[in-house]
């Protein structure tokens, strides 16, 4: 069956070179109180892969994303069952320090949320917290390289002491990405990182994701199917708390196996 929407070709899309499994989920269920939000998710995420989660609102894609660095822990009344591993280690192991996990698996949120501090302090906070820089010069280097990688350096290098909140929405989101990069995570989770941004800012972030995928494993939630098609190597379609289908992005958009996936990407619902 052919798909009626034109799918943009993914830019610079590389096939995942190494077949190392970075993160893996087996039978993940999430409960909010009595309500079961996810019904047992199995998913492997390869190293240096960009994986997009798509699906209608309330399908559990953000919930699953937050399981990957245990941000669900911060929600009162939530409970996670099943197993999630990072490099083969169970991240829900009671002996695991969640702080260490979050230093390895960073997260960028839907709405840009810089700290109400200077641009410099926004970036420097994480490295300082984890003791990654011993001297001021090292910290300066981390701040500069993080901002450079986030493509923000040229725009803010003359005003590092100004509040991060004074930047535009797109700049704030890139600042948040730079802040996440600054602690050198291995996996970056992005929860609809462009939903609050205009098309130009969105374009910049997408380009950034593509560049970052060379060094990091990126998992992103998006409502924008074109975005998934543009940047993701793999796409996973969630619906009503189930992982309906996961596969190479091209396959998902051109040749979905499941009827529900087909209906969603052709705009029948969602």
């Amino acid at each position: 069956m052919t798909v009626s929407v034109t799918v943009p070709t993914a830019m610079n899309k590389r096939t995942a070179q190494a077949a190392n499994v970075k993160m893996s989920a087996r039978g993940v269920k999430v409960f909010y109180g009595e309500n079961e939000a996810l019904h047992g998710i199995d998913l492997d995420i390869m190293e240096h892969e960009v994986v997009a989660f798509i699906g209608p609102s309330g399908c559990g894609k953000s919930t699953f994303l937050r399981c990957l660095n245990r941000m669900n822990d911060t929600i009162a009344g939530s409970r996670v069952e099943g197993q999630v591993t990072l490099d083969g280690n169970d991240i829900y192991d009671p002996s695991l320090d969640v702080v260490l996990l979050r230093a390895q698996v960073g997260i960028v949120f839907q709405k840009p949320n810089p700290f109400p501090k200077s641009i410099y302090e926004n970036i420097a906070y994480g490295p300082r917290l984890h003791g990654l820089a011993r001297r001021r010069a090292e910290l300066d280097d981390i701040v500069e390289s993080s901002l450079r990688r986030a493509g923000l350096w040229d725009e803010v290098k003359d005003r590092l002491d100004q509040p991060g909140t004074s930047l535009s929405g797109g700049q704030q989101q890139r600042l948040c990405i730079a802040r996440t990069i600054a602690v050198s995570p291995e996996v970056i989770l992005m929860d609809e990182p462009c939903s609050a941004l205009d098309p130009i800012a969105t374009g910049k972030i997408e380009q950034l994701i593509d560049e970052l995928s060379e060094s990091y494993t990126i998992v992103m939630v998006t409502h924008n199917m074109q975005q998934a098609a543009r940047v993701a190597h793999k796409t996973a379609f969630f619906h009503l708390g189930d992982l309906v289908e996961v596969g190479d992005t091209d396959d998902i958009f051109t040749n979905p196996r499941e009827q529900r996936t087909h209906d969603y990407i052709t705009g029948r619902f969602g």
């Binding site: 941000m71 702080v99 949120f109 709405k111 602690v183």
Partner: protein
């Protein structure tokens, strides 16, 4: 479309617009009425506050100036018949010396100081003052002033034999008479001063011997019953100060710490729900109940002293805690969760998230709430009555366990004083002092809020 059809459509359109217009008029009228009522409420409030302040200021401000006598007193050695001031001799123990010194002070106490003051007054009065008029003469001067004269000589015995310049408070009744706070046309038997004293007071004022001078007594003296003119706020002020220090030192750290724990760390369960409900209810408990609790626990059970600022401070701390906890929790809750998520997402621990990000942002709200809580404690009267802080205390407390009273209690005591026409003004003056302290506390709160406010 035919012309008729067009007309019909147009008529309908007009009719619909008319209907909307009519309802619009009614809506606008409602809005105007509502705005007018709101404005009227604000104006009424402002007018009432203005009346309150004007009446307090009009009554209280004159009390900051008091009828004062400027006299040259001859320290007649014939009247002050005392030995030389004892000097400590070699081989004398401190106790022995102290004993001799006390004996000497005793001699000074027996001196007829009034006679010296009388002589100084007579110099300014017309004609001969007969001995039967001694009472009329004494009525001019505040009775406590003879002790002030004695203290001056005791501190400086070389003055004996000299004529010294003395500033003495006129008696409360003279102050009332000269300020016109009593009807001058009342018949003699309804006046507080004899006809002779009144005449003399007027005469001395005309001579410039009695002047209206700024009353330092109001600030430097403690309360006085025998000499109402020299009653002051020093004791009450120190009592309030000690209490506020205790309240600040205990309630702010305890309250803020409990609020942080309850809001950020405590698990949500039956127990924390119960604690939360209790804290909210405690904030609504009448303050006098806290006084009863303080009397029962701190005084009855722990045997802490009566009338002590320590106990008052503890009681007020209990009373202020819920206010501070509630204000702090509200301030913490107002910090958007995105900030917490951002910090947690980078790998900050919960404690780091709270102390690095949430608390600094909540600080203005916490400070405002705490200072308003402390200001409320400063003005609290009822619980203090139950732990004996309404006792008459003639000394300035030098520590939190000394007997003391507090500013609002002093106002309450003066308000009930039988010397109405003197203490009415005194009460208002004390209210002005208390309000001044309140205003400065609130101004501090606003200043701190502005200082720590972070713009988003």
């Amino acid at each position: 479309m035919t012309a008729t059809n067009f007309d019909i459509a147009d008529t309908r359109r007009r009719a619909r617009l008319d209907t909307i217009q009519r309802s619009l008029n009614a809506r606008h009228a409602r809005e105007r009425r509502f705005r007018f009522m709101g404005l009227a409420a604000v104006v009424t409030g402002l007018v009432l506050v203005a009346i309150l302040f004007t009446s307090i200021l009009a009554r209280g401000l004159p009390a900051f100036w008091q009828a004062t006598l400027y006299l040259d007193v001859y320290l007649d050695p014939g009247v002050i018949q005392v030995d030389e001031r004892p000097v400590r001799q070699a081989g004398e123990s401190p106790a022995q010396f102290r004993e001799r010194e006390l004996a000497w002070l005793n001699q000074l106490g027996l001196v007829n100081w009034n006679a010296l003051i009388d002589e100084a007054l007579k110099a300014h009065l017309p004609g001969e003052v007969e001995s039967r008029q001694a009472r009329d003469l004494r009525a001019l001067v505040a009775s406590g002033e003879r002790f002030a004269l004695r203290e001056r000589v005791a501190a400086n015995p070389e003055l004996i034999g000299q004529t010294i310049n003395v500033k003495m408070l006129a008696s409360a009744n003279v102050d009332v008479w000269l300020k016109g706070n009593i009807d001058r046309n009342l018949p003699d038997h309804r006046q507080q001063l004899s006809a002779q004293t009144r005449e003399w007071a007027d005469h001395l004022e005309a001579q410039g011997v009695i002047r209206n001078a700024f009353s330092t007594a109001l600030f430097l003296n403690t309360d006085s019953r025998s000499s109402p003119a020299s009653a002051g706020l020093a004791g009450a002020f120190m009592g309030s100060l000690f209490m506020m220090l205790i309240v600040i030192a205990l309630s702010i750290p305890l309250g803020v710490a409990s609020a942080i724990y309850l809001e950020e760390f405590a698990p949500r369960n039956r127990l924390t729900d119960l604690i939360e409900i209790n804290i909210n209810n405690l904030a609504a408990v009448p303050s006098i109940i806290f006084g009863l609790l303080g009397a029962a626990i701190f005084i009855g059970y722990l045997r802490l002293p009566l009338s002590a600022p320590l106990v008052g401070g503890l009681v007020l701390t209990l009373m202020t805690l819920p206010t501070i906890i509630i204000a702090t929790r509200a301030a913490l809750r107002s910090i958007p969760p995105s900030i917490r998520q951002a910090a947690l997402g980078i790998g900050a621990s919960r404690v780091q998230t709270v102390f690095h990000h949430v608390l600094p942002l909540a600080l203005p709200g916490i400070l405002t709430g705490s200072i308003l809580g402390v200001a409320q404690a400063l003005g609290e009267t009822a619980p203090l009555l139950l732990i004996g802080m309404n006792a008459f205390v003639a000394n300035v407390p030098s520590s939190p366990v000394d007997q003391a009273t507090a500013l609002p209690v002093q106002i309450y005591l003066w308000q009930g004083n039988e010397l109405r026409n003197f203490f009415e003004a005194r009460t208002s003056a004390a209210i002005i002092v208390l309000l001044g302290l309140m205003l400065s506390l609130n101004a501090t709160a606003i200043w701190l809020r502005k200082k720590f406010e972070t713009r988003w």
